[in-house]
């Protein structure tokens, strides 16, 4: 137990901050994912074949390639890509992106592919009559989406989004390979310096279980909120 003490003697505070880091990366990645879903869901639902192709390419490639490979692509290729863009604008210094941004972008793109599929499924399962009725009532495009489609879509999407959240949360453990100090990386450091990997990795597992358990409870509340009236 003294291994988990707070302060200089134990790893309690380090692991606590690492847990906060995991939560921060997961939330950022989830939001980045929503952003991607916002772009790619309309593409997948579009009438135009080329746009469909772009949307399908994104979801198929990301969901068919291991997360770790995507992370390596970002980790090794991230600063190169940014520097290439910067060189177009005449900036030639070395740019290093921090691990947090690289990690949440990589996980965000992965999470976005899953979110896109969830939103597409949810929108497609809304009754066509709802779209038509909104149109007939003369509600503008923004109102149609925001007041009529979105609330119905959320109710259908939340259970699946909760799965996406779980996947995202667990995927953040892979960012540890880039050196960002989240739960997994901190456990690795602690295990290395105390030579007690069994304890620290088991403790990491407990932390992850706790995070998934708490988030499930919170999401269930949201689910109840959005399905009132059903």
């Amino acid at each position: 137990m003294e291994l988990l003490a707070f302060g200089k003697t134990g790893w309690g505070d380090e692991l606590f901050y690492a847990t906060l880091m995991t939560i921060a990366v997961s939330i950022t990645a989830m939001l980045v994912g929503f952003l991607f879903a916002l772009i790619f869901t309309p593409l997948k639902l579009s009438k135009y074949k080329t746009l469909n192709l772009v949307g399908n390419f994104y979801t198929t490639v990301i969901r068919g390639v291991p997360e770790l490979l995507v992370i390596y692509l970002f980790f090794f290729g991230g600063s190169g890509a940014i520097m290439y863009v910067a060189s177009i604008f005449g900036y030639y210094e070395y740019i290093e992106i921090n691990a947090f941004i690289t990690g949440s972008m990589a996980i965000g793109i992965i999470s976005g592919a899953y979110s896109t599929e969830v939103f597409r499924g949810a929108i497609q399962s809304i009754d066509k009559g709802q779209f038509e009725a909104a149109k007939v009532l003369g509600i503008n495009k923004f109102g149609q989406f925001y007041k009529i489609i979105l609330p119905q879509m959320l109710r259908l999407a939340i259970p699946n989004l909760s799965n996406v959240w779980q996947i995202t949360l667990k995927d953040t453990s892979l960012i540890s390979v880039t050196g960002l100090v989240e739960i997994m990386r901190q456990s690795y450091i602690a295990a290395g310096s105390t030579r007690d990997p069994l304890f620290f990795y088991s403790f990491a597992a407990v932390l992850y279980l706790l995070l998934t358990y708490i988030s499930m409870k919170l999401i269930n509340k949201l689910e109840v909120k959005y399905s009132r009236g059903y």
């Binding site: 068919g64 390639v65 770790l68 190169g80 069994l198």
Partner: protein, 225 residues
């Protein structure tokens, strides 16, 4: 774009794909039995057995695969007692540790898939079997299991693809699978995009094959023929 690198790295990555496929097939094979075993436990009326099976699937589905591999590979070696038993022959090999971790992980997901498949079987089918005088054992093996397998095919197909992506974590315990070799080539040549295209292409090809095989099986064993 460095096409030469893409061409020269292709055979190396293809060789590493063999390791990925070995890991995948071994863990799926063992995982299917483990999953079936725990699915049956989940259906048991005994609360203790039921809770035990639920706990197993909850723990393995609620924690990242990376943690599971690290506990088995780095953690278990720490137990002095284990080093003296015959288990150490298996546990000192990263290859077997990875397979054990993958098996336990896919077993948890498979047990959930099979459990829900068993639960969707209409009671009428089992009653029909009973009224024909078929014994409980044969009803289970000849009626329930085939129907459950058919029901769970789409979900199990997804699980195979997820597991294929999961095998990439073997590279974190020093195994040179497809991702491991890809990382090695990236870190020696600093050409991430080229290597990603080739390695990602191989993964996508495998996803494509798995997807279509499952689709074929679904069609072949569909109820409306």
């Amino acid at each position: 774009m460095d096409f030469d690198l893409m061409i020269t790295s292709f055979p190396k990555l293809l060789g590493a794909t063999l390791v990925t496929l070995k890991l995948l097939s071994a863990s799926l094979f063992f995982g299917l039995f483990l999953g079936l075993f725990f699915a049956i436990l989940r259906l048991s009326k005994n609360t203790f057995i039921n809770k035990f099976a639920y706990g197993y699937s909850y723990i393995f589905r609620g924690t990242p695969l990376l943690v599971q591999i690290f506990i088995i590979y780095f953690g278990l070696g720490q137990i002095e007692y284990l080093r003296t038993t015959f288990l150490w022959v298996i546990l000192k090999e990263p290859y077997w540790c990875a397979i054990i971790a993958f098996t336990l992980n896919t077993g948890a997901y498979t047990s959930e898939i099979l459990r829900s498949a068993f639960q969707t079987i209409k009671p009428g089918i089992i009653e029909a079997g009973k009224s024909l005088g078929i014994s409980n054992k044969i009803i289970f093996y000849k009626i329930q299991i085939p129907i459950a397998i058919r029901q769970s095919l789409p979900a199990y197909g997804n699980e195979i693809i997820l597991m294929m992506k999961g095998t990439s974590l073997a590279s974190t315990v020093t195994l040179m699978d497809l991702t491991g070799v890809a990382k090695y080539i990236i870190s020696t040549t600093f050409k991430p995009i080229e290597v990603f295209i080739v390695a990602g292409g191989i993964y996508l090809f495998m996803t494509f094959i798995i997807h279509n095989v499952i689709k074929y099986l679904e069609k072949k064993y569909s109820f409306q023929q």
